[in-house]
């Protein structure tokens, strides 16, 4: 398998204490599945036949094993998984009459902010309420950090994943590493 170059290859490993760590969750496969308005249920049913875990309601993400499914917009699912042929499997599974499958494995990077101060650092950057009750585990939101569009998913109480365009991943990491200076932030590529 040819070596894939991470978008964050230019960022140096650093240790800022232990309260929050920025890392990258390497993307093996990331796929967008878009259903048409009247075929959304058919697509949901088709996705449920794969071992992806429970198909979540809109605005939420659910994970099982190394798969994650996020329902991000009407009829639009984003799926990540460890198998490089996931885009092909999904294309085969969903007929053109029901929906469209687009491989975005190279087009997005996933940054991960983890630690007891992760919510504090992120709260400096996003204009969404990140309190446990307001943004519980599994919630998905499309928001913006320093002019950069991100899809934010709360994976755990102390972990937030940020999906970003590959071309802006390094800029986003630079911004987050600066924002976390007060708390003490480390960078560790996974």
């Amino acid at each position: 398998m040819a070596e894939a170059l991470s978008a964050l290859a230019g960022i140096a490993v650093s240790d800022g204490g232990g309260r929050v760590t920025l890392g990258e969750a390497p993307v093996r496969a990331l796929v967008q599945v878009q259903a048409w308005p009247i075929t959304a249920q058919a697509v949901t049913d088709a996705l449920a036949t794969l071992p992806l875990g429970e198909i979540p309601p809109i605005g939420k993400a659910s994970d099982r094993g190394s798969y994650l499914v996020a329902y991000v917009a009407p009829g639009r699912f984003m799926v990540t998984g460890p198998d490089a042929d996931l885009p092909t499997r999904l294309t085969d599974l969903i007929p053109a009459s029901a929906g469209a499958v687009t491989d975005l494995s190279h087009g997005r990077a996933i940054l991960s902010l983890e630690g007891e101060a992760a919510a504090d650092v992120l709260q400096k950057c996003v204009a969404l309420d990140l309190a446990d009750a307001a943004f519980p585990v599994g919630r998905v939101a499309a928001t913006m950090i320093h002019h950069i569009d991100v899809l934010m998913i709360r994976r755990r109480r102390t972990r937030f994943d940020l999906w970003v365009l590959r071309s802006l991943a390094e800029a986003l990491a630079e911004w987050l590493l600066d924002a976390g200076l007060e708390e003490g932030i480390s960078f560790r590529p996974r």
Partner: protein, 989 residues
């Protein structure tokens, strides 16, 4: 030298932590918890500043952010902060503090001569004097006038300090941490609501520490009890040193935190954006002063401030004070001052009778009661030395003339209360005048807030706390929490028997706005000259327009204006309040988005390679792209000419990853493309690409690009780099609103695919070596064909497209594999002397071919203008078609795309205008402009593309490219925009 440090006391200072800072070079001792002002007072300084216009000596006037006089400059070089209020800046070891607006020193300021000219420089003088000669005269006077007046100076050096920005969310925001705010936060917090309590000061408590009792309880005991209860609530967050400056729509408020001074503090300020479901405004009330002659002399200050310095900082403002008041609270403060160790020799009060119990209390301290008297004059210039007191007749409102001198070194004034209604007014209706307290109180609420405590005119401490509790409970209930009803809202019962006397009628300069040097006579002058409305008064005299925004002066100025006009104050009205309540530094608004972080940098997958290869990178929107890969000693022009020649003679590769790419999929994708492009895409066979044009609704050209048909239902659309986002939006809007029935899915894949253009006569040979599984021969991959295969072991899509006019291909691979593919292409191209080429060469190549880019698709050009009318389908409808057919958009006189050849061997400047006049002095009218230029590697001359009126029929004419701003006026020949290979044989092979 009146001020001194009391032997004991000071609730905010820690006497075990002494410190030292400098003021105008002199060392000033202090303790942790001192402000600059309290330390200066304790060290005996009287004059700490010079006034704005007249350069009069000024001292500390207040103990808070309403300070009009004691403005200082902090720090050095890039950290300089001018106009900082000495009354709120906390002292820190080694802090450099300097006075402002004085030379050579604040004690001896030469500019004080301005005061001699004061009759000529009253309010609005520059509207009446310094006129002429002619219109140029003002330009001579203005710089001198500006230099003679002013406050602090800002620095142009880069600011090394860190400012952060943060967001905060809550159910109930309580603004103000005095007894009302604390009670509100407790009531809301105990109901389970998420509460944020903000206060400007380093500790909560507000003005409670100036009281002795709250109801039956000792004030300190109450405070201790209440703050302990607050601290125990996890759901209450206390933000101190935070000033809420603005109240915006949807209950969003802005605040700035002065981060506590600490040796290792990285952050100096933090901006807070707070979203609250409900807000309790408990911002308190300010003491207001009298207006009387000499009231700006150092040593005259607000009575509450004098008491605050004693109680909070253990700093006595003088050894021999007189208190001048028109209400009972002034007497209480006099007694409190005396008990704190600051001797009071007399209380002067215009009311006929002194309040009996209070006067008796005061007599025990040895102070004299002087009811029925007013202060009419001050002696002392850099420090108060004595006052003149006269009997006052309430009937005639005049001083009797029977005067007494009183030696004193401090005059504490207490003339009433101004509720701090700023935030309420920003988020609500106009303020309302309350006769009971002779001040303005909040009007109606537009946003979700409740007012509590002295900011709405309730002054008794126990009533204030009860009012806060009621407001906090009400706010919590409004958020859906259960909070018990806490009794009726206390009513406004008056202000300690206040006598509404604002100005003392007496001869001499009496100041209303200390910071802008506006006097009572300025207010009367404005009214005499017809500036009768309060809005005009403000702007004509600049009353209330300084950094303190008239907190201690607005109402006094209004009262004087009202008296002049013979109207009650409410009829004269008040100006509206706008954010910010306190000055907000630009740094607080910018936060970390400065320098390298001004904008995010958008990098192609090959960015690091370009940088390592020595490319000069240039900004294209958020992207960076290589401009040229110059060799040592090469100019930019030499570099791009070399690169372009390499492409025309052999082969070059360039990074085109920034082009917008959109995945268009679905059973209706073909129909959709036919509707958005001027030409047809439903007829495009699978495995082919086509150049397409997109129009805006108004018929003008929007964008161009190629769209490739990958499968029956799947297309890859490319756009220009700059329009990737706008085109995506345009398409999404059409699908969402115009044609929701179409089954089309869109996904941005700009970042998914890295793109490399391989161009030149040897491009096919190079790709033959570099690619696997694709036949790149002319039959396997014809012009405009699209095939998939592999390169260096990874998936690649290859299209035969040409922007350069040479045989060329575009190789797309997954972005994470871009580097492997690029390096493989370089390796395979070694034998063909492959060169990487940058944006300049890319531009030169396309200019030679007359291919258009965003420089020609400039929002005012049509399909016909650019000579592309063959692509304007007559067989189908598409977006923009109806308005594109308007006669004005197809008129033959329009500016049309032409080529230009320089006739004098000089470059034709981009943006130059095309004129008929040979002389630069008489160019004639502009007939068009140059859109792009380069040195042509093929033709060895400077060429350009331009838009010229009736350009299509003017080939062969000689015109002049005129750029008067940059001083060029050169002859050019109008030619066909395609300079080379008109039949396209080099491209089509």
């Amino acid at each position: 030298m009146p001020g001194f440090r009391l032997p004991r006391g000071g609730s905010r200072v820690d006497r075990t932590r002494p410190l030292r800072f400098s003021f105008d070079g002199a060392g000033i001792p202090g303790f942790a918890g001192d402000t600059i002002a309290s330390a200066l007072i304790a060290a005996g300084h009287t004059t700490v500043a010079r006034s704005f216009k007249y350069h009069r000596p000024r001292g500390v006037f207040s103990a808070g952010s309403e300070e009009p006089s004691a403005l200082v400059t902090l720090g050095r070089r890039g950290s300089v902060e001018p106009n900082a209020k000495a009354t709120i800046i906390e002292a820190a070891n080694g802090l450099v503090v300097r006075s402002q607006n004085a030379w050579p020193s604040v004690e001896h300021d030469l500019n004080a001569v301005n005061g001699w000219f004061s009759p000529f420089i009253a309010a609005g003088f520059y509207y009446k004097t310094f006129m002429g000669p002619g219109r140029r005269g003002w330009r001579l006077y203005e710089p001198s006038i500006r230099r003679a007046a002013g406050l602090g100076k800002a620095s142009f050096a880069p600011d090394p300090d860190r400012t952060e920005r943060a967001h905060a969310f809550c159910d109930v925001l309580v603004v103000g941490g005095g007894p009302a705010g604390i009670s509100a936060a407790l009531a809301a917090g105990q109901s389970g609501a998420r509460v944020i309590l903000c206060d400007e000061n380093p500790v909560v408590g507000g003005a409670l520490d100036l009281e002795d009792a709250i109801g039956e309880e000792n004030a300190n005991d109450w405070l201790f009890r209440a703050t302990s209860a607050l601290n125990a609530l996890d759901n209450v967050r206390q933000l101190t040193r935070v000033s809420v400056y603005g109240y915006y729509d949807d209950n969003v408020l802005g605040a700035v935190e002065r981060v506590a001074p600490a040796d290792d503090a990285k952050t100096r300020q933090r901006h807070w954006r707070i979203e609250a479901k409900h807000v309790v405004l408990a911002t308190g009330a300010l003491e207001r002063p009298f207006v009387f002659p000499g009231n700006d002399t150092p040593g005259v200050m607000l009575a509450g401030a004098a008491l605050a310095y004693a109680r909070r900082h253990g700093a006595a403002v003088g050894r021999n004070l007189v208190v001048f008041t028109n209400n009972d609270e002034g007497w209480r403060r006099a007694a409190a001052l005396a008990r704190s160790g600051v001797a009071v020799r007399a209380v002067v009060d215009p009311r006929r009778e002194a309040p009996s119990t209070l006067a008796a209390e005061l007599a025990e301290t040895g102070a004299e009661s002087l009811p029925g008297h007013v202060v009419t004059a001050i002696s002392g210039r850099t420090a108060l030395s004595s006052i003149r007191v006269e009997a006052f007749d309430l009937e005639t409102n005049k001083a009797s003339g029977a005067a007494r001198g009183l030696r004193c070194d401090g005059l504490a004034v207490a003339a009433g209360w101004n509720p701090l209604i700023h935030l309420a007014s920003q988020a609500g209706g106009p303020p309302e005048y309350d006769e009971a307290i002779h001040a303005f109180v909040p009007g109606t609420a537009r946003e979700k807030w409740i007012a509590a405590g002295s900011m709405r005119g309730v002054f008794d401490a126990a009533a204030v706390a009860a009012d806060g509790e009621r407001a906090g409970a009400e706010a919590a209930r409004a958020c859906g929490f259960k909070a018990d009803a806490a009794g009726k809202a206390p009513s406004i019962t008056g202000a300690d028997n206040l006598l509404p006397l604002f100005e003392i009628p007496a001869k001499g300069k009496a100041f209303v706005d200390l910071q802008n040097d506006v006097t009572a006579s300025d207010v009367r002058l404005a009214q005499r000259e017809g500036f009768e409305s309060v809005e005009h008064l403000k702007r004509y005299t600049t009353l209330g327009m300084a950094a303190d925004q008239g907190k201690t002066s607005n109402l006094n100025g209004l009262a004087i204006l009202a008296k002049e006009r013979g109207l009650p104050v409410p009829e004269v009205g008040t100006t509206r309040f706008r954010p910010p309540y306190n000055p907000v530094s630009l740094g607080a608004l910018v936060g970390r988005a400065r320098g390298a972080h001004l904008q995010p940098l958008r990098r192609t997958p090959l960015h690091d390679w370009h940088v390592k290869a020595g490319a000069e990178m240039m900004n294209v929107g958020l992207w960076q792209r290589p401009r040229v890969y110059a060799r040592p000693g090469e100019t930019v022009e030499q570099a791009y000419v070399r690169e372009a020649k390499a492409v025309r003679t052999s082969v070059g590769i360039t990074d085109v990853s920034t082009l917008g790419k959109i995945d268009v999929q679905g059973p209706d994708a073909a129909t959709f493309l036919d509707r958005v492009y001027t030409n047809t895409f439903s007829t495009l066979p699978v495995g082919k690409a086509r150049y397409g044009l997109m129009l805006r609704d108004d018929g003008f050209l929007f964008d161009d690009g190629t769209t490739w048909r990958l499968t029956e239902n799947r297309y890859l659309m490319t756009t220009t780099t700059a329009n990737a986002g706008p085109v995506m939006e345009h398409l999404e809007v059409l699908l969402a609103i115009a044609w929701p029935d179409l089954k089309v899915s869109l996904a941005s894949v700009t970042d998914q695919w890295a793109g490399v253009a391989v161009a030149g006569p040897k491009s096919r040979d190079l790709l033959q070596k570099a690619l696997d599984g694709i036949d790149v021969g002319d039959e396997g991959l014809p012009f405009m064909g699209v095939r998939t295969g592999r390169c260096a072991g990874v998936e690649a899509i290859v299209a035969r497209l040409s922007f350069s006019g040479e045989r060329a291909y575009e190789v797309y691979s997954g972005s994470n594999h871009a580097l492997i593919v690029w390096e493989k292409l370089l390796e395979a191209g070694k034998e063909f002397s492959v060169e990487p080429y940058g944006l300049e060469a890319l531009g030169a190549l396309r200019i030679e071919k007359g291919h258009v880019t965003g420089a020609e698709i400039n929002g005012r050009a049509t399909v016909h203008d650019l000579g592309l009318q063959k692509m304007f389908s007559t067989k189908k409808h598409f977006v923009g078609r109806p308005l594109a057919l308007r006669p004005a958009l197809t008129d033959a006189g329009r500016k049309q795309l032409v080529g230009l050849k320089s006739l004098d061997g000089k470059p034709i400047l981009g943006g130059a205008h095309l004129v008929a006049g040979a002389e630069a002095k008489e160019p004639g009218r502009s007939e068009g402009h140059v859109t792009a230029m380069c040195f042509s590697p093929r033709l060895d001359i400077y060429i350009a593309l331009a838009l010229l009126e009736r350009g299509h029929v003017r080939h062969g004419e000689t015109l002049y490219a005129a750029d008067p701003l940059r001083g060029t006026h050169g002859p050019v020949e109008v030619v066909d925009p395609c300079f080379i290979d008109k039949d396209g044989s080099r491209m089509h092979g």
